[in-house]
Structure formats: structure tokens, C-alpha cells
Symmetry: C3
Subunit: 437 residues, 3 copies
């Protein structure tokens, strides 16, 4: 969503380009190449850092007896995502479609071959390795979302197998439709700047289907309709995770501008920083006020989820809104967990960290509101949401079912009750501290 910007001297004027498409045209020389690449590198390490944010958020919100498992899952899923996105994912995501298509692959086979030492394809306007790195960390983010919802009751082996398919195939196919220039982009003008749908809803659907197939944690929902709260072990850690994610989101949204080699581009990146920040601020304040009014107490986990939901909501279009728009979009995002966390519990869908309200519901909200400020139609956005829902739900469901039917998804009731850490990992999270659970 860029517009021509005032440019000086030898710097070329930026052509409008869709965010996260493979080749922004805004290059006017070696300096622009360097600056565009630098944006990917900085954005890339910030989004990589989000892996730590998810790890801390989830480690803080599970019970002590499952914390080591959650830590392992998070560092493992990031690593699998990295490998799979190289082995096959990137070339599915960016297939070089000729006209609308639903699945394809770049020429040269599944593996993405980067350029050699010192080689630089100056026509792309940035280092292809920097772009690959930036795209890879988005892929990992998608997997992180699943990890949170399904915590405390899934064995690590089937979880890692699911992550392998999700990051190698399911997510890249969704990306190909939009950022890869495929069906949603070509036929519907679907708009998803940094991934409210492509990243967050994809993770959210995979998590939701997983939660339905896996079932809730033992003892979570009583036969009489009662809900047992299993409080997280370490709220400061969850708070840290949220701050890490917030920080990483500047890279997530800001670097999705894909260029900062012109005055207009870097000004847009700045605007994205502000809007991203303000949507999160609004999400926090709304969640605090809502829980204070509803429960008489300001629930800290809702404040954290409010920040994240605000961030997810602004992700589909962080550039076009004014600050006022961003505050409204993020603020409405912040109310969604307050509404949907109890609602999921009524439906007996056990989402340990609230990832479905935050990433799926707020992701849909953010995607559908794009036409308010950006260049998209409501129908196009709705088609994008629905197509993603169908594909991710069906594909995830098949994988989950195969895993359930073969190696099984859940540990025995004894293992789940004792905690996965001892049986699955062999390392307790807080020896010398934990005195219960």
C-alpha cells in the first residue's frame, strides 16, 4: 500500500507495490539496495525474536509441570520452520505464478538456492538471502500460534510432525495466493499487508482444528458445565513474552513495507511503527477497562492478550490508517479476547493461552476492516478469510487425524496428570521451586 513519495536527487520515486510481494521496484541504485536489504535484516531479527516471545508467553501461562515441554516445543518449532521453509516452503510460497493459480512451485525444484558469496542480483533491489530470512521468520510465527493453544496435552513427536507439514506446505500455500501473487491477489485484490490472515489466522485455524480433535485438558471442563481455571505459573514471564512480541511486531509490520530505499518508503515504515504501537496501546487500555468494569479487577492476562490482539488487528493494514483509525482498530481488537476467551470455554474448546481469540478472531477482524482505510473490498477480504479457513482447516484436519490414528496425539492420562515434563522431556522446569502441580 505505498504511494509515490517525494524523492530527492538520484533516488528513484517508489512505484506502488504490494507488501511482501517478491520484487518491489523501488530501487534507484546501490544505496537503495543496501537500505532495502538492511530493512529485511533488522525486521528479520526482530521477528526471529518473536519466537522467544511466544516461548516466554506460553511458558508463563502453562502449569509448572508442562513448562519444559513448552520450551522445547518452541525452540523446536522455530528450527523445523527454518529447515522446512528452505527445503520446500519458500518455493511454494513464491512460485512465480503466471496468472491465478492455487498451488505451484518456483522453477528449479523445491529447495531454495540462494546466491553465492558476493553475488547480488541488483535487479531485485535487495539481497535475496535477506528476503528469504525475513519470510522464514514469518513462517515460524505461524507455528508458534499452534503451540500455545495445544499446550499441556499433546505429545512432542506428533506436534513436531504437524509443524513440519504446516511450515513446509500448509502455510506456504496460503502465502502463495497473496504475497506470491496468486489467486487471492490476482482475482480478488485481497489485501493483507503483514499477515493478519496469512500468518495469524492460518496459525489460528490450525490451532482451532487441533484443539477440536485433541480435546480439552483432563479436568478442564466439568460434566456439570463448570470450568476449571488452570492458572499459568509465571505471569512475569508471560508479560515479558508479550513485550518481546510487541517489540518484534515493529519488524513484522514495519519491514513488511519491503523497502526503505526512498524517502517515501522510510516515511511509511515510520508511520507503520506508530500505528502498530498505538493499536497495541489501545488494545491494552480497552482490555484493562473492560475487565475492570466487568469483573471489578483488571486482569493482567487479558491486558497482555489485549496488546497482542490489537497488534494482530492492525497487521492487515498498518500503513493506511491514521493514528485515530489505528487506535480504533486496535482497541476493538483488545476487546475480542475479553469476549471470546469465556466463549470458547462455554464451547469447551480448550485454548491454553488464548491464541484463538488473539490470532484468529482478531486476525479476521483486522482483515475485514481493511476496506475502511485501505485499498480493498469487503468481499475480497471475506473471500480471503474464507478460503484460508477452508484450506487450513481441511489440510490441518487431515494431518491431525492421520497423526491421531497412527502414533496418537495425547499422552496417557497418567502422563498428562503427572505433567509432560517428566515423561516427555525428562527435565523439570522449576526443580527447587515448584511445590505443587
Amino acid at each position: 500500500m505505498k504511494y509515490a513519495a517525494p524523492a530527492l536527487a538520484a533516488l528513484a520515486v517508489a512505484e506502488p507495490a504490494f507488501a511482501q510481494e517478491a520484487a518491489p521496484d523501488a530501487v534507484g541504485g546501490g544505496t537503495a539496495y543496501i537500505l532495502n536489504t538492511l530493512l529485511f535484516l533488522i525486521g528479520g531479527f526482530l521477528v526471529m525474536w518473536m519466537a522467544a516471545g511466544f516461548a516466554m508467553l506460553e511458558a508463563g501461562l502453562v502449569r509448572a509441570k508442562n513448562t519444559s515441554t513448552q520450551c522445547l516445543k518452541n525452540i523446536g518449532l522455530y528450527s523445523i520452520a527454518g529447515l522446512m521453509f528452505w527445503v520446500i516452503g519458500y518455493n511454494i510460497a513464491y512460485p512465480g505464478f503466471e496468472g491465478p493459480g492455487l498451488i505451484g512451485m518456483a522453477d528449479g525444484g523445491p529447495i531454495y538456492w540462494m546466491q553465492g558469496v558476493g553475488e547480488a542480483d541488483v535487479e531485485t533491489g535487495y539481497s535475496v538471502a535477506s528476503d528469504w530470512f525475513f519470510q522464514m521468520v514469518f513462517c515460524a510465527t505461524t507455528a508458534s500460534i499452534v503451540s500455545g493453544t495445544l499446550a499441556e496435552r499433546i505429545k512432542i513427536v506428533p506436534f513436531f510432525i504437524f509443524v513440519t507439514v504446516l511450515t513446509g506446505i500448509i502455510y506456504p500455500v496460503v502465502v502463495s495466493w497473496e504475497w506470491g501473487g496468486g489467486y487471492l491477489d490476482a482475482a480478488w485484490g485481497f489485501s493483507d499487508f503483514a499477515g493478519s490472515t496469512l500468518v495469524h489466522s492460518t496459525g489460528g485455524w490450525a490451532a482451532l482444528i487441533g484443539a477440536l480433535i485433541l480435546g480439552p485438558r483432563l479436568g478442564r471442563y466439568g460434566a456439570d458445565g463448570s470450568v476449571n481455571v488452570f492458572p499459568g505459573t509465571n505471569i512475569p514471564l508471560a508479560t515479558l513474552g508479550t513485550f518481546i512480541l510487541w517489540l518484534g511486531w515493529f519488524g513484522f509490520n514495519g519491514a513488511s513495507q519491503l523497502a526503505m530505499g526512498t524517502v517515501g518508503d522510510v516515511s511509511d515504515v515510520s508511520k507503520i511503527f506508530v500505528n502498530t504501537n498505538m493499536a497495541a496501546c489501545a488494545g491494552v487500555v480497552v482490555a484493562i477497562i473492560a475487565t475492570q468494569l466487568r469483573y471489578g479487577k483488571a486482569d493482567v492476562t487479558m491486558a497482555l492478550n489485549g496488546a497482542l490482539a490489537g497488534l494482530v488487528a492492525i497487521t492487515a493494514e498498518p500503513l493506511a490508517p491514521t493514528v485515530g483509525h489505528a487506535i480504533i482498530i486496535g482497541g476493538i481488537g483488545g476487546i475480542l479476547p475479553v469476549i471470546f476467551v469465556p466463549l470458547l470455554d462455554k464451547l469447551k474448546i480448550d485454548d491454553v493461552v488464548g491464541a484463538i481469540p488473539v490470532h484468529l478472531v482478531a486476525g479476521i477482524w483486522g482483515t475485514l476492516i481493511v476496506p475502511w482505510t485501505g485499498d480493498a473490498t469487503f468481499m475480497g477480504q471475506l473471500v480471503g478469510v474464507l478460503l484460508t479457513m477452508v484450506w487450513v482447516s481441511v489440510a490441518s484436519g487431515i494431518v491431525w487425524f492421520i497423526l491421531k490414528a497412527t502414533i496418537g496425539l495425547r499422552p496417557s492420562a497418567e502422563v498428562e496428570t503427572a505433567g509432560l515434563d517428566i515423561h516427555e522431556i525428562g527435565v523439570e522446569a522449576y526443580p527447587g521451586l515448584a511445590n505443587q502441580n
Copy 2:
């Protein structure tokens, strides 16, 4: 505090400009605009990250029963600061004074309207949104300081109301006097490069007045003059918080150069990085040696506060000192908590995390020592310190008194004894871990 620097080719020579004034003149083209903006963005996300640092530092130094509350306060105050600095703060801070004034507001009313998509005012030399973001995170820092001192005994609603006034009015007025080009800058040549007084002392005075009005935690000081130590629950978390703050300070001080579009500017940013780092190193070593000599043990919380005090001390002038100067300035900063933490206890002023010695006392020290190396007079610096003291103390005092007289500041003794987490937040910080307090 910049001087003309050797510049090459088409890059213009930097004109001397006061740090954090609105418009450095050092632009020589689009590349300089991009680089200046990038400095604000990198500096901005580093200082934003300091919000996490304060949260972890404070969460680590309070008792388990008040930890969730402290987490909520920190993410809440950052969010309020963001909103208020947009609604009114920035336009008070940078009012475009004509001649010396004490309070004003930029044309166009309280709300700061950023530029539209793709718009870039190249005459400023940087994206106005990037500058706003960088200034906003400083505003949040000020509020973080108050949160630490008043922990464990203030209700969240009056706390958040105070933060609203502090970030919307009290802090921006102080900023307007100096970085906004107002009274202190115009009439006294006051010099405060990155905010030893404007940020840290402002937070410190607000915290001190709050502590006086709020009173100490229950049981903290015995009637017989004894001091009960309430040890913090999580020292590694406090250590993490200190490292986060240290990291963020490279953005806090380094990006306060406000430009890196010339060879001279980026060299000065580099020098600031080194001086900032070395002042903190010296603060740590001095605090370790001092506590080892005085108590026979090297107190880790003093080492952490030594780092922070060294950082606060160098903040008023991180560029002009040589490395040797920086070590002395930071090293003396590091001794201040060792002296003032026990002194405050003697005065029965209950400062939970030691924020007053670190931010207020070291901030005054750093401000008054500027004339040793930088371009300022002792009298001008003293006037700046005193004027900030009077304004922040009186304004804060009025707000605190109104809150005390209306909705009240403190929870009941029962709530305070049981811990604020259960009654104010409804979420315990370490369920399954905490076995006392």
C-alpha cells in the same frame, strides 16, 4: 552538542544543533533523510524495549504477592503514555515557542497529526512519525520510574490516572522548556542531551512526592526505627530487566544525536555508544567494590542499580566526555545508590526498587557535571534542576492529593497484607511456585 564534522561528497556538513530539538539541519539529500529516520526507528524500538526492562526489574524486586499487579502497571503505563503523548503531550512538548515561554502548545490543537501515507516533509530531514515515535517512548520511560518506587501499596486506578496526567501534561511541559526550545534552553543555555533531568529526574520527583504522600508499605519501618527488608522475589528477572535497560540505553542516548546522515553524526553516535557503555560498566564495578568493602558481600541489587545510576548520570552529556570522563561520571553515579538507598530508609521514605537514588539523585549528578565536559554553565544546570523540581513536585503533589482525597490511593490494610494481586488483578503471579508471601 554536536560540532561540524568532516563530510564527504554530496553529504552536507552538519550544523551544530541541540540534541532532541525538533529540527536538526543536517540533511543533505534523500539518503540523509532515510538514515536520520532509521536512527529514530532503531533508537525508538530500543527505548520501547526499556518498558520491558522496567517491568522485569520491578517484577523481580517486589514480593510474589504483588508481582502480577506490577506487570499490569507496566504494560498499562506504557499504553497510556502512548495515547496521551498523541492526544496532547507531543504538542505541549514541542510548541514552537517564539522566545522564552513556560507553557504553550503547537498550532493546530492538542492532537498531533502525522503526515499521510507516502508524505514526507523533506525539509525536516527525517520522517515526523519516526521522531514522534522516538519522543513517545521517552515519555513512557518517565512513567516507568514512578511505578517502581510506589510498588506494592498503590491501587491501580489512581496509579493509572496519575500516569495519564504525568505523560499528558507534567512531563511534556518540562520537555518544552528545553528540547522544545523554551525557557531553560533560551534563557539559561541549559543542557540535557538525552534526559538526565527531563526524563529521569522528572520521573524521580514524581515518584518521591508520591512516596511521601502515599507513605511506606505496612510493616516496612518499625516504631523503634528498625527497617524491615522485604526482599524481591526474583533476582534473575531483575537482572534481566537491568540488561534490557542497558541495551535500550544505546537507543536512548545514541539516537538522541537525532541524526546519522553525515559522517560526523554517525561518529558521534558511536562515541555515545561507547561512553554510555563505559559509564554503566564503571557504575557496576564501583557498586560491587563499595558493597564488598562496606558489607563484606557484593550486593547484586546494588550492582544492578549501579549500572542504572551510571547510565542515568551519563545521559545528560554522553557525547562530549572522553572515555575517561565517562568512567568517572558513571562510577560516581554507581556509588549514589549505595549511599542513598540506606539514607532514604533512615528518612522512612519507602522506595521499593531504589528508583529515587538511581533516577533522581544520579540524574541531578549527571546534569550538574555537564559543564565539566560540555557546553553549559553550572548555574544554568542548577536552574534547570530546580525548576524541574518545583514544577514536577508541585504538579505531582496536587494530583496525588486530589486522588488521595477522592478515590483514595491505598488499598485497605487487609488487601495490602494479602497482596494486591488477588484483590486488584485476580491473577496470582506464581501459582504452583510461591509458598509464602
Copy 3:
């Protein structure tokens, strides 16, 4: 290990230059100077952040009763490293050798005098202060490694004295041989891009000799050959530390390109980011699979060490390998802790956090494999490894022995059993949480 890269317009072609030598020649103007300096600053703050990573990793892997001590050691060693690298270290590391030499010092005496405000030596192509900062944080990393191995049984005063010598003399001498252009570089064409040997093995040898002289923790090894596992207190904290180190490694390896002022340089930095990331990913996956197969459980601490060992392994040559190479190099790195952690226990060498397998063994592996992809000979690499071994072992051994013979290294058995926190630091790490150990 750089090669000439395609460059555009007025940007000069990069001359081949050894990584981390003092003066890359690839400057074509003020913009290149700014960008090169910016690379050092970003790389510098990322590597500085690794100090927090080591602190968290070690704090998470020691027992509760020694955690405050570990926090103090980590912030203290970083601070000492900063001071010593300025007082003497840098000028030993970069002595300006004329021909091969084994020890020397730059003209002008031990202290490194940076340039004044606004001064910039444009012929170097970057700000000398930014280079110094970047080199300093590497020095601190070396000391962090020692801290982990020797945890829980060394008094803080002798530890800090050792760090003073290590960072002031032992490490800088090793650096002078290679990055300083000395013996290993001139006579053997030794190649160590970012420090598998210079940083990680140096720390590892110092740690190993320390562990041998210090002996194991009380009760760690039974007289009957049994090994008592002392589990770490806080696995999420150790996980956080690993993620921090991984993040910091992008600066560690990426900015060791030493320049991004040309299209070729920034493309190489991007490639280094990818290779660094993928080596770590492979290390994690290999460690998970290996422990799952060997023990039937996927050991989370091994996964963390697998990431770090993969990172250490790729550090000697992160640019020349293809992604496939990087995965193999990192993957083999990841298996090393799985093999060597139990092996060290058989030898009754007590390495609390597994730093010797991770930093020393993987560092040797990474150094010796350089000829596979990079420009080096196996013999040259072997000489580099052996010379480093001899120098660091002998020099460290002498310092450790002197300390042992004078002020003593270990606390009394009573103090060690009670935990160092109470007696050495006076501040417990988790009051209100810890209920045993």
C-alpha cells in the same frame, strides 16, 4: 572471506579483506562510512545483548541457592571486560604488527584513545569508536563462557580477578595473532571469521583449566563413580537465554563482515544471517532427535545446547558455506553436547552449563571444517587451534594457580552447601519461592 561483489554507480568495488581486520578497504564515500559504522553499532548492541543471554542461561541452569551469585558474576564480568578492553586489551589485540609477531601493542601505550567529538577518520571507512565497541563486546563474550562452567563453587573475588586478566591480556593476545594481523594470520593463513577459536575456544580452554584446578562441586561425583545430577532451577530462563544468544549471534557473525557499504557486502551479511540461523536450527533438530533416540525423551537442555553448539560451529566460517553446508556443520555441532556432556562427567570434569562441549568442542569442530568451504588449510587451522590451546591453557593455569595459592578459589564446604548467595552476595534469588536447595 569476502570476494569482490557487483557494485553500482559510485559505490566502490569491495576489495577482499579478512574479517575483523582493522581496516576493510571497501569504502566509496560518506554513505559507505555511515553504513559500515551502522553495521558495527547494530552488531555491537546485539552482541552486548548476549551478555544477558549468558546471564539468563546460567541463572536458569544453576541451583536456586547460587542464582544471585551467577547474576552478579555476569553483570560484573561484562563491566570488567569493558574497562579492561579499553585500559589495555584493544591495543594488545590490534598492535599494528610489522610482520609476524606473538605479542605487541599499538603505538601510544596501552589505553585506546578514541577520536574527539565530531572527528572522523574517513580513511578507515568507519567510526573507530563503533569498531572498538563491536570488538569490546566480543571480549566480554569470552569471559561469559568461563562463568558458566565454574558456577556454584568459585568465590566472586578470584573469579573477577581472573576475568580481569582474561579480558585485559589473555584474550587480546589471541586476537592479535589473527584479527590483529599477527602470527596465525601472516604465517599460517589461519581463518576464523567471527571467532569459533578466538572467542569461543579461548573461553572454553580457560573454563576447562579452571574446572580442572577448581574441582567439581561437592557431592557431584560419588566415590563409586556415580554422577549426581544437580538440575537447574529455571528452564524457561535458560530457554530465554538461548534465544537471546541466538538473536545476538546475528550481530556476532553478521557484523563480522565488517562492512555493508557495498551491495556485495550487505548481500554477504544477509547470507551470513541465513547460514547462522540454519546452523542453529540444525543443531536443535539433531539434538532433539539424538536425545529422543538415545533416552526416549527429548532433553530440552540438550536442545538449547544444540542450538548454541550449531552457532559456535558456523562461527568460524558463516559466509562461504551454502545453506546445505551450514546445516551439516551446525547439525554435527548439535550432536557434540549430546556426546561430550556425559563424557566430561565420566572424566569427573564438572561443567555446570555444558560450556566446554558447546564453546570449546564445537569451536574446534567449526574451525577445523573451514577448509571444506572456505579459504584455509587444515594444517593452518590445526595450528591455530593448538596455539590457542597452549597459550590460553598455560596463561589461565598460571593465573588460576596463583589465585588458588593466595586468596583461594573456593568457599568453605559449609558456604558451598548453604549456597553462595547468602554468604557471598547477601541476596537470595527467589525468596518466597524456593522451598528446597
